[in-house]
Amino acid sequence: MSERFDMFSPPPAEPDPWDAASETARADDDAELDPREAAAMLAQTTRQAERQFEIRPPILLPAAAVTVLIAYGAVWLSVRSQHPYSGPTGTALAVLYGTLAVWIVLVTTVLRRALSGRSSRQRRLEGITFAAIWICVYVFQGALHHADSNHAIAYGIYPAVAPLIVVGSAAAGYEAARENRAQAGFAATAVVLGALASFAGPADVWAVTGVGLCVLLLIGAAAQLWRRRA
């Protein structure tokens, strides 16, 4: 059974309460439970547990929206007045990758609170697969640099929209295969946004993509909240 527990599960700091507790406590088998009371308890417990076990907590999407706006905004501010276009400054890249690192830490922290078992293993595999796809996007950018490609392409349009188009397409296909229409539609919209933003030019592509993705993520967050309240 040990394979049920993943590397993200922190070891308990204290002895397992199961070992420490005695089994002499009395079960309240005699407690009267009215059927109406039972139905209400069942519904309430199920609702509370489903919220606790939610894989995508509502905080993630607004946090992603802010992250994208800061990261893409920092790059846009550093390139908007460049003529000819030479690419983001070191400071802007530090902000871009710094916010990305904060985002990864946040997601990892949230997932560490999650469950063990099949869904945990599935999420880890998903994470590895999408990370590999993401890395390949940057490997291709290295090839563009190696081929002395135009800076407007290699350090402007490509890095701004390629992650969105490539990773978004993979996510849209994955979610469509799972018949998850909302997630598939969300990912497909991000792909369309990336494709259209690429026409904005090497500098403004950062602003268009950043603002567009931020709005899309906020719409996603609102939809998620609306579904929770429904």
Partner: protein, 99 residues
């Protein structure tokens, strides 16, 4: 249908909440004993007593890993437990429909 016909193993406040909580997990996932205790709000001794009853009926499985400080106990709802809760829910719905 009467209230006495409801599954007596589930028709107890603490065990109903335990089973309903575990049923909200994705199929095949387990929950640590500590987290289940936090969610249900029972003392460890009481929770163990209820879990033992559910385990005896094969409604839940108890998984222990590690030793000493590193030991960890996890609880999982079995297929039998999931089916029992579905039957209980259906019976409850029938009963409330008749009331």
């Amino acid at each position: 249908m009467t209230a006495e016909e409801l599954d007596p193993l589930i028709h107890v406040p603490a065990r109903l909440r335990i089973v309903a909580t575990l049923a909200a997990l994705p199929d095949g996932d387990s929950l640590s004993f500590t987290r289940l205790q936090d969610m249900i709000g029972l003392t460890p001794g009481n929770l163990i007593t209820h879990l033992r009853k559910l385990e005896d009926a094969r409604y839940v499985g108890i998984e222990k890993t590690g030793n000493g400080q590193a030991s960890r106990t996890a609880v999982v709802l079995t297929q039998q437990g999931r089916t029992a809760l579905e039957s209980y829910t259906a019976a409850l719905r029938d009963l409330l429909g008749e009331l």
